[in-house]
């Protein structure tokens, strides 16, 4: 029976032993330093401890007990967006994500997790009804707090919530979730003869429910069967990023139970982070799953993909480049790290945009440079996140678009914040929204 909640490393030497299990991965870093060229955090701070080479060196020293200050190493380890840019560009192919994800879980288990994090990862996120209720209530009670700042971007300021939100410019909660409104979905395959599990992910379910709606509309339009159980929970990435492997495995277990209730050909999501997490991180903890879970995770990983990849590469929808209409909107595309660097998806979303006559795609410089959001990174290192985001914003505005498209809801919130802070009149949309809009009203009727 695998141990889901392994005991906390009781001593420093137990921690260093755990880290030594990563030694074969750590030693493959040849210290060339080429990660400096692509690391967004290093690009802002120029600090060696902020770049992968520095972090790997710190972990090696911790594993070999030449530094004993685990707390201080942990702080530096967490100054990382987990964007994977370094791994994608590493000449010696160091498995950076495996190292960082595992190291965070070892160190967090040794140092312990804060009460609030435990509450969120192991209580709130594990209870879909409670989480939905919380977001519905937020939708209801947010009104007096929110002040609209930028209608084009769709952003708000919440001066009274500054202690929680800082001076972020945020989207508003719709007040209802996709799964709450739609309930459980289980429609058989249509003319495509394919059926997918649609995993909305927390943000496209609760904050940008329009992304899940757009995805559903597209799948319906193409005759793809959809299975979305109403008790799916968070994919687990926030817990994992904080090193809470116990919380992560709790969430994964619930999702696996929920997904095991129906068969499907693929698992698709409009959230790049969920896709990357299910595909790459769920299998990382294979030794800690139950046997039936193991089987499911192994089967799920190759079937999991981003919605645009499914449309272009599996469904083979005809996305022949269109002749751009006169007066078409200029759109630029931001490569989400989890899409391009983790999943290798960069051509598919562009192909979709180019097929739409209402838009003219203009590439921005450094389109695949991280936006700086990084999920919980944005919560805990907002100043740094914003600094990195400003570079992305400068690249976006340099091509004077009226719209920026991307494939990741977390990137969307960051782009909205950055553009709104600069009072730019540039809308932020997901590629599925652009495509769903083009399908027109007929498809909407079929979807509902």
């Amino acid at each position: 029976m695998p141990e889901k909640n392994p005991a906390r490393p009781a001593s420093f030497s137990e921690l260093s032993q755990l880290l030594m299990s990563l030694d074969n991965l750590l030693v493959s870093c040849m210290r060339c330093g080429l990660c400096q060229a692509v690391c967004p955090v290093y690009g802002s701070t120029f600090r060696e401890a902020d770049v992968t080479r520095g972090k790997i060196s710190l972990l090696e020293n911790l594993a070999h007990e030449t530094i004993k200050d685990a707390k201080s190493v942990n702080e530096r380890l967490n100054r990382c967006l987990l964007c994977g840019s370094c791994q994608a560009n590493c000449p010696s192919g160091v498995n950076v994500m495996e190292i960082f994800i595992k190291a965070r879980s070892f160190v967090a288990a040794y140092l312990g997790l804060s009460f609030v994090k435990k509450l969120i990862f192991r209580r709130l996120l594990t209870h879909p009804r409670l989480f939905n209720l919380a977001t519905n209530l937020s939708g209801f009670f947010q009104k007096p707090f929110l002040k609209r700042v930028n209608a084009t971007v769709g952003s708000y300021r919440a001066p009274l919530l500054t202690p929680f939100l800082g001076n972020r410019h945020v989207p508003s909660f719709p007040g209802h979730s996709f799964t709450g409104r739609r309930g459980a979905l289980n429609k058989p395959a249509g003319q495509s003869k394919l059926k997918v599990a649609l995993f909305p992910g927390c943000v496209p379910d609760k904050l940008f429910d329009r992304l899940s709606e757009a995805t559903l509309k597209i799948l319906d339009f193409h005759g793809v069967g959809v299975f979305t159980p109403n008790d799916l929970v968070c994919c687990g990435i926030p817990a994992l990023a904080s090193g809470d492997s116990q919380g992560f495995l709790g969430l994964t277990g619930q999702n696996l139970t929920s997904l095991s209730r129906s068969s499907f050909d693929y698992l698709v999501t409009p959230c790049a982070t969920c896709a990357a997490n299910i595909k790459e991180n769920w299998p990382r903890f294979m030794d800690r799953y139950l046997d039936w879970e193991k089987k499911l995770v192994v089967g799920l990983s190759p079937k999991t993909m981003d919605i645009t990849q499914f449309l272009v590469s599996i469904l083979k929808v005809d996305f022949t480049p269109a002749t751009t209409k006169a007066g078409a909107q200029v759109v630029t595309y931001h490569d989400s790290c989890h899409l391009k660097k983790s999943l290798g998806v960069s051509a598919q979303p562009r192909a979709i945009i180019k097929s739409l006559p209402d838009y003219r795609l203009v590439e921005m410089p450094e389109a695949d440079r991280c936006c700086g959001h990084g999920g919980s990174f944005n919560l805990f290192h907002y100043d740094l996140s914003r600094e990195i985001g400003q570079r992305k914003r400068a690249n976006i505005v340099s091509v004077k678009p009226s719209l920026v498209a991307t494939g990741c809801p977390a990137c969307m919130t960051q782009l909205m914040d950055m553009l709104s802070q600069n009072n730019d009149q540039i809308a932020v949309k997901h590629v599925v929204e652009l495509y769903a809009d083009s399908l027109g009203a007929a498809a909407t009727r079929r979807a509902s």
């Binding site: 120029f46 600090r47 060196s57 710190l58």
Partner: protein, 462 residues
């Protein structure tokens, strides 16, 4: 580490609290560079943001008898920026990263030392000009570091190396006083040619604050090809014949069979793994017709000398593909084993086959996996030893093999290092390549410019 809080405060007073690092975890991240050597933790790391702060920081450290190591991106392969023992101070140049001027009329640029090489090269291209030195680490290396190590790259044969582009310098001496040398003019004989002494000085004589670099007009046409050989001597003869025919390819790269096998295993690009060696040749120039003529001549030479296959790139895509083998040489070798010891012994180009044969003999003798690639046009080879530094017994053999590679290079009238630097790694070999008088002369020079021997003391000359 003992560094008094009051001294830390003085460093902070010059810079700012955020730019002085004293926590163990931060200092530890500056204990190494890209060389496979033992790390040393400095006592303090400071990142001045202005040239003025840089001068003050140097004076403060020197007056307080702190060993000083100046660091750019820490990518050199000779241990040139591993800190000194005895509570050393590391001075970072990353924040001094302004391109101050790119002059299109007079073909020069003025930069601060922390500017990243490839970012500079791109800025120069945007102004319609060309800065040729392209060391392997160019996406992260700093121009200050390039000057301090006299960085080379793939274009050495035709375009030269960093030293050929250095027109002038401003640097701080140990008093923190600013010294100026060279100028923005093509000709300049004012004072000693101090720049020539500072280039590849590896942080032992002073600290750069401003660099004047020469720019050239870019080539307008180029042609790339791959020539495959079943005999390494024929590859070498090709190189000699090309140059004897007064053609200077902009790049003339070489990969041996072991290297090809590793690259093919990694890329599956369909490389000729049975070949003894391949040459990757690119000619460039200002006229397409002239380039075509040179390319045809090179092709003819390759086949006359005995290349068994020649692939000429017909378009940009094919050119990209031809260079894939070279681009992937180091990544492929680096993935094969945990530790990659990248050597840099350089011989006169006619001795390349002898050198490769010796490297292969040494690999056999010490039972090591060594792949060799490099710049055939300038005899600068990179025998790359694949090993695992955790295996003490094996690593001892690696060190012995490296020593023997140097021995052989010197016997072939070559040099210890073409472009990676002497640093800590090769300092002990200096006498062997030169003589005691040379080392003594260098030490005297050094003592005159650094009486307390605090500038990177264990590097270059010991």
């Amino acid at each position: 580490m003992s560094i008094s809080p009051s001294l830390v405060q003085e460093f902070i007073k010059i810079t700012s609290a955020g730019q002085v690092l004293t926590e163990e975890a931060d200092r530890l991240s500056y204990s190494y560079d890209a060389a496979v050597l033992t790390p040393k933790i400095p006592a303090l790391v400071v990142a001045p943001a202005t040239e003025e702060q840089l001068g003050q920081v140097i004076k403060l450290a020197y007056d307080n008898d702190r060993p000083i190591t100046v660091r750019g991106s820490g990518t050199n392969l000779s241990g040139a920026v591993i800190p000194e023992p005895g509570d050393g101070v590391v001075i970072l140049t990353n924040r001094l990263n302004q391109i101050l001027e790119i002059n299109q009329e007079d073909l020069y640029a003025v930069v601060q030392p922390g500017v990243i090489t490839s970012q500079f090269a791109e800025a120069v291209v945007a102004k319609g000009l060309f800065y040729p030195p392209d060391p392997g680490s160019q996406t992260v290396s700093t121009l200050g570091g390039n000057v301090a190590l006299n960085a080379g790259g793939l274009r050495g044969l035709k375009y030269g190396v960093t030293k050929d582009y250095l027109m002038g310098l401003e640097f701080f001496d140990y008093h923190g006083n600013l010294v100026k040398t060279g100028s923005r003019t093509v000709k300049c004989v004012t004072g000693y040619n101090i720049g020539a002494m500072m280039i590849s000085s590896e942080g032992t004589l002073g600290v750069f604050s401003k660099i004047i670099l020469k720019l050239v007009p870019p080539p307008k046409a180029s042609q790339a090809m791959m020539a495959v050989y079943d005999d390494i001597n024929k590859a070498s003869e090709t190189v000699a014949t090309i140059i004897a025919n007064h053609i200077l390819p902009c790049t003339l790269e070489f990969l041996d069979q072991k290297c090809l096998k590793h690259v093919e295993a990694h890329t599956k690009a369909g490389l000729p793994v049975e070949a003894a060696a391949i040459l990757l040749i690119e000619v460039d120039g200002s006229h397409q017709a002239g380039v075509d003529e040179d390319a045809a001549k090179v092709k003819e030479i390759c086949s006359r000398v005995g290349a068994k296959d020649i692939r000429v790139a017909r378009d940009a895509e094919e050119k990209f593909k031809i260079w894939e083998a070279r681009r992937n040489a180091l990544p492929a070798l680096a993935r094969a084993k945990p530790t990659t010891v990248l050597e840099d012994a350089t011989v006169p180009r006619s001795k390349v086959p002898a050198m490769v044969a010796e490297v292969n003999r040494i690999a056999e003798k010490y039972k090591l996996d060594i792949g060799t690639f490099g710049h055939a046009g300038d005899g600068n080879l990179h025998p790359t030893i694949l090993c695992d530094r955790r295996d003490a017994e094996e690593f001892k053999r690696v060190e012995e093999a490296v020593d023997e590679i140097f021995d052989v290079a010197l016997k072939l009238q070559g040099t210890l290092s073409g472009e990676h630097g002497i640093g800590q790694a090769k300092a002990k070999w200096m006498v062997k390549e030169t003589n005691q008088a040379t080392v003594d002369f260098s030490k005297n020079l050094r003592r005159a410019l650094d009486p307390k021997y605090l500038f990177n003391a264990s590097k270059k000359i010991v």
